[in-house]
């Protein structure tokens, strides 16, 4: 069965530290990839997405992600986190030719001021 793995469940960083959150998926076909963010008490919002083309995609608020097809990975990065980045981050995969999205279990990020 297709799945999405986020290996870091909880991450604590100090402000200005660099961030990398891992995401791996298991599916041999074409996928579209997403990162969503959920701030405390809110709904999920799109951070960035990859459909095709340049495997390094840039999103909002200084986030970026790199699609490495050979590793089935789509890791999220930010060079310098801020306190306001405290949130839960979800990686998601859309299987090509379907409208079924598969979400990872999420990574809770806490940024210390």
């Amino acid at each position: 069965a297709q799945s999405v793995s986020q290996h870091n469940h909880h991450v604590i960083l100090s402000e200005a530290a660099s961030l990398e959150l891992g995401c791996n998926y298991s599916y041999g076909g074409t996928v579209n990839l997403f990162w969503y963010v959920q701030y405390p008490g809110q709904h999920l919002q799109l951070l960035l997405k990859y459909f095709s083309g340049d495997p390094l995609v840039k999103g909002i608020k200084g986030f970026e992600a790199e699609f490495i097809k050979s590793k089935f990975s789509f890791n999220l990065r930010k060079p310098s986190v801020q306190w306001s980045d405290t949130a839960e981050y979800f990686c998601a995969v859309l299987l090509s030719g379907t409208y079924k999205y598969i979400f990872g279990t999420g990574t809770r990020l806490k940024v210390l001021a």
């Binding site: 997403f34 997405k49 979800f90 859309l94």
Partner: protein, 116 residues
């Protein structure tokens, strides 16, 4: 927010009672989804709809039914609520721009359901 409204936003009910959650959208989106969010499980798809009266099951559909009698409303029903269905339920749509699907999901504000 892509014009999505969920109701009720909060509900407390007792085991065995029926519950219906409503997702209402104002922008004629074709695809609508119901997810539940639980700690340690992320978001799991319950049911989705690809048009009026066209629905399909997701990965955790047992105990849930849906209906979509008109484009703007997608109803999720728990025929007989159980404590395991205590969760936060999110409705989502896939918007279109220029006639093409964006492939993204836009989520509603969520409905927090507690089954005692």
């Amino acid at each position: 927010d892509a014009g999505i409204t969920q109701s009720p936003r909060h509900k407390v009910t007792e085991t065995g009672t029926p519950v219906t959650l409503r997702c209402h959208q104002t922008e004629n989106h074709r695809y609508m989804y119901w997810y539940r969010q639980d700690p340690g499980h992320g978001l799991r798809l319950i049911h989705y709809s690809y048009g009026v009266k066209d629905t399909d099951k997701g990965e955790v559909s047992d105990g849930y039914s849906v209906s979509r009698s008109k484009t703007e409303d997608f109803l999720l029903t728990l025929e007989s609520a159980t404590s395991s269905q205590t969760s936060v339920y999110f409705c989502a749509i896939t918007p279109r721009r220029g006639g093409e699907s964006t492939g993204e999901l836009f989520f509603g504000e969520g409905s927090r359901l507690t089954v005692l």
